[in-house]
């Protein structure tokens, strides 16, 4: 219920955008005299959000040992720190682990959530509503509250310090199921009836009709699942024992605890943030719109 409630405000919001565009344009023309102030404030706020990233990149590209106090620009920029960081065996391994963790999770969650969402939206079967509610109820339980039994469970299944132990427990994602169900519920039944009349099997219907039609929501969900896992910290921290199994977030936190030189730490941070920035650069509009329209929470 939380989700349904939480979707409401955002959803209503975007619907209204289109209808009021002419009106708001007219108003803003009248408001132009106020805009310089507003723009100035936005510029300041943007400096706060973007500035630290710039600082990271500048520090990452400064020669080691260069003064790191602000406004003392390094005399020359160098890729030494970055190449040293990339040359360290563990850093490459952490990056790889983060990719495996994120990409495998995206693929499996998209597939299983689409399947479950399809069943919840379009199939009648005994216990459907109870199941859906019990999935949704898990949203009320913070992950941290169950992290201890989760660890004990995975340890009991011999999964500590393995890829499956890292990935599989994070795949049960009720937000994903709920989002897929909401979306598929909006698809016209006629489509599925027509497919059945044509003699298509259940799996064919899912593969040929449901998946292609849900592509926009799959893309949105995929981005979010990627970011959730790429940025995840507590679970990888607990489950990764050896250096070989650390993800980037865990690796970075050990680096920062080990007093490595600022330039090296920032080089590692800069490299680790690149995938996020790429996602952001190419999919920002998508991401932003989907938050407003679905209330999906990172």
């Amino acid at each position: 219920m939380t989700v349904e409630a939480s979707t409401a405000p955002g959803e209503a919001g975007t619907g209204a955008t289109t209808t009021h565009v002419p009106g708001s344009a007219g108003v803003s023309r009248r408001r132009t005299h106020r805009q310089p102030w507003a723009i100035a404030l936005l510029v300041v706020a943007s400096l706060f959000t973007v500035g630290p990233f710039l600082a990271v990149f500048i520090l990452a590209l400064s020669p080691a040992g260069a003064p790191t106090i602000p406004f003392q620009w390094p005399e020359a920029l160098t890729l030494d720190n970055v190449s040293r960081v990339l040359g360290a065996r563990s850093f490459v391994r952490w990056t790889l682990n983060s990719f495996v963790y994120s990409v495998v999770s995206v693929v499996v969650i998209l597939l299983t959530a689409a399947m479950a969402g399809y069943a919840f939206a379009k199939k009648r079967f005994p216990g459907r509503d109870v199941l859906l509610w019990s999935f949704l109820a898990t949203l009320m339980v913070p992950v941290q509250a169950t992290i201890i039994p989760m660890f004990v469970l995975v340890a009991g299944l011999d999964g500590v310090d393995t890829f499956w132990g890292l990935i599989v427990p994070t795949l049960a994602n009720s937000q994903a199921v709920f989002l897929m169900r909401q979306f598929i519920r909006g698809l016209p039944d006629e489509l599925f009836d027509a497919a059945r009349i044509d003699g298509a099997g259940e799996w064919t219907t899912f593969w040929r009709i449901v998946l292609p039609l849900t592509r926009p929501v799959l893309a949105t969900l995929g981005i979010f699942v990627f970011l959730w896992h790429w940025n995840d910290f507590l679970w990888p921290l607990i489950i990764a024992q050896s250096d070989e199994m650390r993800t980037l977030t865990v690796g970075l936190s050990t680096l920062s605890a080990e007093n490595v030189a600022v330039a090296d730490l920032m080089a590692a941070a800069a490299v680790s943030v690149v995938p996020c920035l790429l996602v952001f650069a190419f999919l920002q509009r998508y991401l932003v719109n989907s938050i407003a329209s679905t209330g999906i929470k990172g």
Partner: protein, 420 residues
């Protein structure tokens, strides 16, 4: 129809399969043929330089495997950070190292939780310094294979003392206190102290506690003793020093990095529990000519921290014979000599030749006479974690030394009570 429905079912089944048997191979490089046995060793940055460390241990792996074709040796380099969390979870989950590098107090801790196997059949105690073996002998069995020994002592940045017009380098608490104001006038803290909760107290508070004549635990380990007058004296020494400008301003929270830290940047003039590797870093940072190594600091007593590094055999291990070969190889005179050279540690073997040591190494070997290997009691590490934030509180001035230690002692007693 059955065929069509089978696909989602197969997806479910494969997920189950993934859940059930995906955990087959933990060590990514450790598969190998039927006869081969893998021995995983968790090693720590004993050699502080990362690249040197990687190169050294890769060489050790290679040399060992050349001699023992049937054993695949994997040396995993772990960070110091979160060391106990990782070892304890590894022991609990049954997935982790066969051999792990521990200090003496850790060895007892993990022995007490049932995570270690004895090494009596593997080790020949008479080959080692007796105090080293004593430190890892419990209930009549040896639980650690010593591979090196390390100690700490006092180091001075003489340039800073000269600058403040102090001619005699302080060697006792009183002298340190007396030197504080003159240095503070120059914006320099007389002594470095690192109170970060991630730091072992073995390198910060405990040496001072011992110097005050106190101890963390009572002799039989059944109770804490740090809340006695000695503990209060040690903590008050720090608080008084801080009031006199004798500690770095962020002493309560900072970590003990040399490079970029208080000593390395010339913001502190001396350190009292400094390792050989750290002295070398300091020489690089402030110039060799300015660095002087002295004897351990004296309070009521002259004591410092020093511990053997031992390899302990975990209950995770399934092939003790292979692990024994690895331990014996890493602890052999030849291999450990290489480690001492690369890491600035010193031998634990009686047959090792220390006569060729340089002046610096000799100073640290001499310091071993004053060295204590931490407090070897079960739950020592947990008590340390409970004590640490209360020391911070006293240094921040929110509570008095006595109050801080009383509160810490109350917490520590609960920990001991629950552990028994």
């Amino acid at each position: 129809m059955h065929k069509r429905l089978a696909v989602p079912a197969a997806a479910a089944a494969s997920l189950l399969a993934l859940t059930a048997c995906g955990g087959g191979d933990g060590a990514p490089e450790g598969s190998g043929g039927g006869e081969q046995s893998t021995v995983t060793v968790w090693m720590y940055p004993v050699i502080p330089d990362e690249q040197a460390s990687q190169a050294y241990w890769a060489g050790v792996e290679e040399d060992f495997e050349a001699q023992h074709g049937e054993i695949d040796l994997v040396v995993e380099l772990q960070p110091w950070d979160n060391r106990d969390e990782k070892i304890a979870t590894a022991l609990a989950s049954g997935r982790g190292p066969d051999l792990v590098l521990l200090t003496a107090d850790q060895t007892l801790n993990y022995h007490a939780t049932g995570g270690l196997k004895p090494l009596d059949d593997v080790i020949e105690p008479s080959e080692f310094y007796p105090q080293t073996i004593d430190a890892v002998t419990y209930d009549g069995s040896v639980y650690g294979y010593p591979i090196y020994q390390t100690s700490t002592t006092t180091v001075y940045n003489t340039a800073l003392f000269e600058q403040a017009g102090i001619e005699e380098l302080p060697t006792t608490w009183d002298e340190v206190l007396a030197a504080a104001p003159a240095l503070a006038e120059q914006g320099v803290a007389v002594m470095d102290y690192s109170g970060s909760p991630n730091m072992t107290l073995n390198l910060s508070f405990y040496p001072l506690l011992w110097q005050a004549g106190g101890s963390v635990f009572t002799e039989d380990g059944s109770d804490v003793a740090f809340d006695g007058p000695e503990g209060v004296a040690a903590l008050e020494f720090l608080v008084d020093l801080q009031a006199a400008g004798g500690l770095p301003p962020d002493a309560a929270t900072k970590a003990n990095a040399i490079e970029g830290g208080a000593l390395g940047t010339g913001a502190a003039a001396m350190g009292y529990a400094v390792t050989l590797a750290e002295v070398q870093q300091l020489q690089a940072a402030v110039g060799e000519e300015n660095v002087v190594v002295g004897e351990p600091l004296t309070g009521v007593e002259q004591v410092t921290f020093g511990t053997p590094g031992v390899l302990a055999l975990t209950t995770i291990n399934e092939d003790p014979e292979a692990a024994a070969k690895v331990a014996q190889y890493l602890g052999s005179a030849e291999v450990s000599a290489g480690l001492h050279e690369a890491s600035g540690t010193y031998p634990v073997r009686l047959d090792a030749d220390t006569s060729g040591s340089d002046e610096l190494t000799t100073a640290f070997i001499d310091a071993l006479d004053y060295a204590r290997p931490g407090e070897v009691v079960p739950s020592a590490r947990q008590v340390m974690a409970a004590l640490s934030p209360h020391l911070q509180a006293a240094l921040q001035g929110t509570v008095s030394a006595q109050e801080a230690l009383d509160a810490a002692a109350a917490e520590a007693r609960q920990i001991i009570e629950r552990a028994s």
